[in-house]
Each structure stands twice: as C-alpha cells, then as structure tokens.
C-alpha cells in the first residue's frame, strides 16, 4: 500500500467523540502530485478524517491515536503554532458550502490577501488579482473588491480555491467541493481543479460521495464505511472490478442507463451509528456474501492485486457478476421493469398545464410599488397522462419547484390555466394531487407521532373508515413496520422518513404525486430504495408522477418524458429517449455533458458562466450569454417552439 515517494502518510488514525470512534484505524498514503479520493456516504467519517489531518476537528472531537506524517514532519506532534504554518502553507483546504465558508463581511480580496500575508507574500494586491484570474474569475481586479454575497455559488467556490492556493500548498484537501453546486457549475469547478493540479503538480485529497466525480478526478480511491477504510485501489482497477461487497453494491445501486427500468439493487438496512461495538465486520448486517467468520472476527486487509487492497474475509476478488447485489425479489410482477403505462388514446390527460406563469413582484421606492417582476415561471405548458412519469429537469433557481407548488395550489399562479382530467382547476385539490418534498428532516413535524403524521390527510378531509387500520396498511405499503406508528420521526433514518412522507401523501389516494427532488438529500444506496418504492407504487396504484429533479441519472432511470427548464421556461421536452439521447437544445446538451459518469469519458464543461437572475433575464433567448451557438438573432428574439418529432419539442433558433 505504501508508495515509495509518499507526501502524506496516514497511519492508524482514529478520531474520538466521547466514547465513540467515528474514524477508526484509517491508513493511507498520498504521493506528490497525485489525487486520492476518499469515497463514502454521509456519516462514514470521511470529512472528520480530513479535518483531523488539518487538526481542525470540532471541539467535541479529538485525535485518539495514530500518526500523520507530511513529508518529514509528524503533524500530530507539532505545536499549535507550528501547525498553523502547515495549514495554508503545506496543506490547503476547501469546503463544501462556499456561501457559509467565506466571511460575509470581508471582501473576497481581503480574505485572500490575509492568507497571502500569513505565508509571507507582501505584494499582496497584485497576487490577489493574479490568483483570482488563475481560478477563472472574470474581471478579477473588480471582483477582489466584492463581498461574497455579491458572487454566485460557483464564483465563491473559485474564490475559496484561490484562497487555499494562496499559501502554495503541496496538498489540497477538497471536502465535497462541488456538492452544493449545479452540474454545469460542478463541471467548471472540477475542470479548474484538475487544471490547477496539473499545472502546480499539487497533490489532492478529494472527499466525495459521488462515484462519478471519483471516476473523473481520482488517481487512486479509498472507500470508507462506518469509520473505516474498506478498500484502496487505483482508479482503473476500482472501476473495473470493485472488491469490497459494499463498493460493489454502491455501483449496483446507481440509477443509470444500464439499469434503466429494471429494479435497482439496494443495500438493505442502514449504516450502524458510530459508537456501535463491532465484533466482526462492520458491513456484516448488510452484506450478501457474509461468511460465518465475518460475525466473529474483524476482516484483515487483503491485497487482491498490487495496490488494490480490500478489508474483507472473502479470499479472492470475486468475479463481478452482472447482477451483483440484487438482494430482493421482484414483487411488482411486471417482469422486473418499472411500470409506466402507455399513453391511453383519446382520454383527456390527467394533468394539463398551459402557459403557467408565477411572477413575484419586485417592490421599490417610498410606496413600495411593484417596479418589475421576478418571472420565476414564465409560460410553462405540460401534459401528463395517468400512470406515467414526467420529469422536470433544471438547475437550482430555474423555477421547477415553483411549477410544482403552483400546480398543487400552494402557490397562486399569476397566469395560465390548469386542468385535471379535462376539468379546469383552481386552488388545492388534496384528493387528486399530493407532494413529496425534498428534505426528509423538514417534511415531518418532529412533535407528532408517525401515525398522526400519516393520518393527517385522513383527518383533515374527514375520510371515512378506520384511520388506524388505514395507517397500518399505508405503512406496510411503503415498506415500514406498522408498529412504527407510535414512534416519533427523529427515530428514523432519512430514507425511512421519506417513506413516511410518501405514506402521508398516499393516504388520501391521489392520482398524481408531485415529487420535488425526493432523493437528492439521500445517499445512493437509500436513493435506490426510494426509487424502487416509487416504481412499485406506480405499478400497483397506477400513479402518475411529476418528478422534479436536477439529477439526470434518476430521470433516465425513472421517467418516460422529460421537460428541461431554464430560467422559468421549458427549453426542450420530449420522451426521455429523444431528449437524453438526442438532445437538440444547447443547454440540454451542456447539462448532459456536465454529468460526471462512471463510465468515464470525462465531464465536459460546455457552458461558461452562471445562470442569470430571473428578475432580469437577458433579452432574446435567455440562454444566449452562455450559448456556444448564439448569433445575432438569438439576442433579438426568444425562439418559438420547433417540433422535431411528434414528441420532441425544442425552443432554439438553431437546434443542432
């Protein structure tokens, strides 16, 4: 495992919080100029490991044991004062949330200059501008004088990177650097990180939960599970044949084209909480290949191939079968495909939205008169048939959530018409449509029992029948134990909470479920469970889904039709096949190219810049400032719909 020229050498590092060891016996090396990715789901200890290297652990946590050597220095033995020279100077770090990680009341330039001065650079002013230019911030001299809130998320992350580079670190620790960003911006930032690393011959420790990011960035990969490293491998070897059963299941749980419309493999159960005592392997409860010895003894490191080591009792690298880790049967009786009924001929669509507008007034002046509008949704038309799934795709701020709320009646539309089964609709229709929200923590009232939460709609609408029995049935339907009705939400994991939220929505037997990013806050393995559940429910109950998401892979897996939104308008729509495989709008193409895929090929940042504000959209085609194909005509007029095929419509003057 140990490389000859390792820059950073971590040995048996353990971090303790109270009695629990959220990080235990982690060892790895990073060579100069190399990118090492630490991959794991939330709570596996990967961020704590990074903070421990910087000795920046939160007050409750401490390094319990282990050694960290950087070049020739033992970081654990340094005094706090000496350690400060290492921070920023030898080890730079960037964090996940660019908006909260920058000081809101200092200009970006001042924050970078501060780092420069610390590391002995006197001519700070020019260097600040230089650094900002180096991370691709346009007009760096002016931007240096701006405050973080004046910048977009991607810009802030670039500024963070500039700050981390100020001390010319030899190792950059990037803790989920793109998780908070949109895909097109993520692609830009990943591009930048790769370019900088190559130019400066800097080593990088990349912490992420995203297999796609790993595939595109890393030289070597370390997989963490429940506080331990369970696998270390070169990237190619890892993606060709992941060794640890956990890693293999992660791959199988990814919704991607390969898995389209078949059930996803899931990892049953959930990660054991830190502080659990383990006699044997930490993964044993969820492992399909577990041997008797796995319960009794902690697995040893086994080197399957040079540089590819796995912490598992399995004697050799098992052959990667096509159907790894499918652990459940196939209850939905549709031949292993997600049911998605064909369009019924003739009948009016379940939901028809025409020219929906939601404007928010901008008020100014003494009398607070509306001087303009934020056009959050600006003329959106959709059609959704019973039993089908329509995905509404777009980046944050494009108005897709507002569309959902306006359809549901939570947000009064400013214009346009809605029709359910051909009958016009205004306001709420609780028995027809329900919503599943994004945040599994914010969507359940912590003060109510699960039973009360699920029965909420039954009580509010005074539906007949035995509510308690119905609640039991609903819980069973979403795969929860009926006995859980008496418990409170905080006792459940994110995935279980999302199941409860789905049960609550289903209680009133709606025909349409609006799902607003229902899996984006969940780990991949849990996401697969929820997607499977949604598929089963659709097959069994004939539900239609309006699926609002930014995740192309999920769309590809789940939806029959797709509509792509940009700045309040739909720019391209059609069948999933047509849009994702034959995208014609430059924005859709950029979006697709930006998704990091495991299959390699590399992410491609096809568009530069950030989406403009919907309060002040560019004239003509909203996309023209970022569009590679833009011409004079695009600046003058907004393109009309061009029908390319019966079910493929695009709004672009020059559809490719």
């Amino acid at each position: 495992m140990s490389l000859p020229m390792s820059l950073l050498r971590v040995r048996d590092l353990s971090v303790a919080i109270g009695d629990a060891l959220p990080v235990e016996d982690v060892s790895f090396d990073i060579a100069a100029g190399e990118t090492f990715a630490l991959l794991g789901e939330s709570g596996c200890g990967k961020s704590l490991t990074a903070l421990a290297l910087m000795r920046l652990l939160p007050p409750a946590a401490r390094i319990a044991s282990g050694a960290v050597r950087f070049a020739d220095t033992d970081l654990c033995a340094l005094s706090e004062a000496r350690m400060r020279d290492v921070r920023g100077g030898k080890l730079g770090m960037i964090f996940q949330e660019p908006s909260s990680s920058l000081n809101p009341v200092m200009t970006v330039g001042a924050q970078i200059a501060e780092a420069l001065r610390l590391h002995g650079d006197a001519a700070a002013r020019e260097r600040v501008v230089e650094l900002l230019a180096a991370v691709g911030i346009p007009d760096p001299a002016r931007r240096a004088g701006e405050y973080p809130f004046q910048m977009s998320g991607g810009m802030k992350q670039r500024a963070m990177i500039a700050m981390a580079l100020a001390g010319e670190p030899e190792l950059l620790i990037a803790d989920e650097p793109t998780t908070a960003l949109d895909v097109t911006i993520q692609a830009q930032v990943l591009d930048l990180l790769r370019a900088l690393q190559r130019r400066r011959a800097m080593a990088m420790l990349l912490i992420t939960h995203d297999l796609g990011v790993v595939a595109n960035m890393a030289d070597r990969v370390g997989v963490m599970y429940a506080g331990q490293l369970v696998e270390i491998a070169p990237r190619a070897a890892f993606f060709a044949a992941p060794g640890h059963p956990y890693a293999r299941r992660l791959f199988a749980a990814l919704p991607d084209t390969a898995a389209r419309r078949s059930r996803l493999a899931t990892i049953p159960g959930s990660v054991p909480p830190p502080g659990t005592r383990h006699a044997g392997c930490r993964f044993v409860e969820r492992c399909g290949e577990a041997l008797p010895v796995c319960h009794a003894a902690p697995p040893p490191w086994r080197e399957y191939a040079p540089g590819h080591a796995v912490r598992c009792h399995l004697p050799a690298l098992p052959v990667l079968a096509g159907k790894v880790g499918v652990t459940e049967g196939n209850p939905c009786g549709t031949g292993g495909t997600v049911a998605d009924a064909a369009a019924p001929g003739g009948a009016p669509p379940l939901l028809a939205v025409s020219d929906l507008q939601v404007y928010f007034p901008i008020r100014k002046g003494v009398l607070r008169r509306a001087v303009g509008h934020v056009r959050a949704v600006d003329g959106v038309s959709l059609v959704l048939h019973a039993g089908r799934t329509l995905a509404l795709v777009g980046e944050s701020g494009c108005g897709k959530t507002t569309v959902g709320k306006a359809i549901l009646g939570l947000q009064a539309p400013s214009g346009g018409a809605l029709a359910l089964d051909g009958a016009p609709l205004a306001g709420l229709a609780p028995r027809r449509m329900q919503m599943v929200f994004q945040d599994p923590y914010g969507s359940l009232n912590p003060r109510l029992r699960v039973g009360e939460i699920v029965a909420e709609g039954l009580c509010a609408l005074r539906l007949p029948g035995d509510h308690a029995a119905q609640v039991r049935e609903l819980l069973a339907q979403v795969g929860l134990d009926a006995a859980m009705a008496g418990r409170y939400p905080h006792e459940f994991s994110g995935g279980q909470r999302q199941r409860i939220a789905i049960a609550r929505a289903l209680a009133v037997r709606p025909g349409l479920l609006i799902c607003d990013e229902p899996t984006s806050a969940l780990d991949v393995s849990v996401q697969a469970q929820i997607l499977n559940l949604l598929g089963d429910l659709q097959a069994r109950l004939g539900l239609a889904y309006l699926f609002i998401t930014h995740n192309i892979a999920v769309v590809d897996y789940l939806a029959r039709e797709v509509a792509v939104m940009y700045l309040g308008r739909i720019v391209e729509r059609g069948t999933t096949e047509a849009v994702l495989r034959g995208a014609r709008h430059p924005y859709t193409q950029a979006l697709l190219a930006a998704v990091p895929r495991i299959a390699g090929g590399g992410v491609e940042a096809r568009v530069a810049g950030d989406p403009p504000s919907p309060a002040n959209p560019p004239p003509g085609c909203h996309f023209h400032p970022r569009c590679p194909r833009a011409e004079a005509r695009c600046r003058a007029s907004y393109p009309d719909e061009t029908t390319l095929a019966a079910d493929h419509v695009v709004r672009c003057h020059f559809p490719a």
Partner: protein, 325 residues
C-alpha cells in the same frame, strides 16, 4: 436608500400618533378630569368649586373631543384632545403644576442627564464587550466558567443594591466623592463618576453574558473554520473574523438606545440627586403631575422611534450585505 429612509420616517408617524392616542386614553378616558382633581385635592377640600378651579388652572375644563360651545374651528381645537395631545406634535407641552414651562425645563435638564447617560452607555458597552471577549478567548476553561458564574451572580443582584452599596462604600466609608448632587462644568465630573461606575457595574453581568453567547455562536460558523484552515492564529481569528461579525448585531442593537439616553435614568438620577430628566420624571410621578408624565411619555417614544431609525441606518452601513443591495 433614501426612499427606504423616507418610508421608515413615514412609518414612524402612525406609531407616534398611536402613542399619542394611547397616552390620551390613559390620562383622560380611564379617569375623568373630575376624578383626578378629587384625588389630587384630597378628600377634605373637595368642593365642586375647588374641582372646577383645579380643572380650569390646567385647562382640563374643556370637552374631550368636540366643543359645541366654541365657534368655528374652535369646535375641534378648544378641546382637551387638541390642546393636550395634538399640540405635542409641535413640542408644546404646556406647563407643569408648578407653573413652569415643560419644554423649557426639558431643554435645561437634558444636559445633566446626558452627562451621566452618555458615559454609562459608552463605558458599559466597552466593558461588556471586553469582558465577553476575555471569556471567549479562554472559552471552555475554568476562567470562562468562573466568569459566567460571576455574570450570573452579578445579574442576580438588584440594581438598588449596586446603588446603595456604592454610595455607602465609596462616599460614606472611603469619602472619595460626594454622595449626591450635581454642578455645572468640569466639577460635574466628581458627581458623575460614582453613578457612572455603579450603572456600568450593574449592567455588566447580563450584557457580558449575552455578548459571550453571540461570540460563541459566531465561533461555530463555517467561515471561522476556513480562517483557521488558512493558518490564522487564534487571536487573529477572534479579532478579525469573529469580533467583526459579532459586532454588527451588538452595535446596531445598542444604537437603538442612543436617542433615549437623553431621557436619563430614573433610578440613578433620583439616588444621586442629578437634576436631569430622570429625576424630573420621578418627581412628577411622586407629585402626580400628569402634564409632565404625559410629556415625557411622548418624548420618550419619539426618541425611541428615532432610535429605531438609527438602528436601521447603522445596520445598513455596517453590513455590506444590506449596504450594497
């Protein structure tokens, strides 16, 4: 920005009118002027004539809202509401029971009030921030713990104790400064020192503890971690990052009190014999001089509203997030 200020000013007007109506209701509707006269004159001398005279002296002999007996606009202006309430907007407060003009009295007494209140404000703020910073610098140590215990103990002691104890110890036992009194000019200093110290001490516990929590909360922010990751020393992190961010709510929160400093402090002025607006108010309360109390309520509210306005402005200036939007 300007539009915003104008809007705030316009918003202040209905509030001031509201205050005026509330005070009017309190003073003239809850009790009739007859009731007040009867009470002030005492039971023995109450004759209808005495009551009428008492009311006439103070101008309370008019109808409340509408005077049918008067002519022209007098129907509206020859009323208690107009003469007593509406005129306040023109800073016409009438005269006190002893016949002196209230507005003049107020302008005379503002000086002494400020002489105490201003140093109390500045020193108090400084002392509390400094103390809180000290505790935060040594956070999670025994010093911090002892400091917090001290704060809680200090805020559990009655303000009266600080005053009485201070007077007794400093003036009576040590004979350092006079117990009470006031003089114009520089000699005021020796009268002002003790009340200032006492007030600062009395307020220190609660504000220092409060500021400490604000600082500590700021310490948990992500940008503090970023600052450390850059390699900044704890001292720089505290002063350059934490302090700067925490001061925005602290200072803008304090600004609201600045205009009301003119009002002085009731207790301190009464105890230390400082002829400011605070003791004026206390005397008026004890003498049940309704005109003065009413005037002070009005001025106090007006100053508070100015304070709110200043808070908004200072917030706008201090926080770039608001200044530049």
């Amino acid at each position: 920005m300007l539009a915003y200020l104008i809007r705030r000013l316009l918003y202040a007007l209905p509030i001031l009118i509201g205050v005026n109506v509330i005070t009017f209701a309190l003073f003239f509707v809850v009790n009739t002027p007859d009731d007040m006269a009867r009470m002030q004159l005492g039971v023995k001398r109450v004759t209808p004539e005495a009551i009428e005279r008492w009311k006439a002296e103070r101008g309370y002999d008019k109808p409340l809202f509408w005077n049918d007996a008067a002519a022209g606009t007098g129907k509206a202006t020859e009323t208690i509401f107009f003469t007593k309430s509406v005129k306040m907007f023109a800073l016409d407060f009438g005269s006190a029971d002893d016949g002196r003009d209230i507005a003049r009295e107020i302008s005379l007494r503002m000086g002494p009030s400020l002489a105490v209140a201003l140093p109390v404000f500045a020193l108090g703020l400084f002392a509390a921030i400094a103390f809180a910073l000290l505790l935060v610098y040594f956070r999670a140590s025994y010093l911090d713990f002892a400091g917090v215990v001290l704060c809680v103990a200090m805020m559990s002691i009655s303000g009266l104790f600080y005053i009485i104890g201070g007077q007794w110890l400093v003036s009576k036992v040590w004979h350092l400064v006079p117990i009470s009194g006031y003089a114009e000019g520089l000699t005021a200093a020796k009268f002002v020192v003790l009340p200032v110290l006492v007030s600062v001490l009395a307020g220190l516990g609660s504000s220092a503890r409060w500021y400490r929590t604000i600082f500590l909360e700021e310490y948990t922010r992500d940008y503090v971690r970023t600052a450390r990751a850059k390699g900044l020393s704890e001292r720089l992190v505290l002063f350059r990052h934490v302090l700067r961010n925490a001061l925005i709510p602290i200072l803008t929160g304090a600004v609201v009190a600045i205009p009301t400093l003119f009002m002085g402090s009731l207790l301190i002025e009464a105890f230390f014999g400082i002829p400011g607006l605070g003791s004026y108010t206390i005397d008026a309360i004890n003498a049940q001089d309704f005109a003065v109390v009413r005037a002070m309520v009005f001025i106090g509210s007006a100053l508070y509203i100015v304070g709110l306005l200043l808070t908004d402005i200072s917030y706008t200036l201090a926080d770039p997030r608001i200044r530049l939007q």
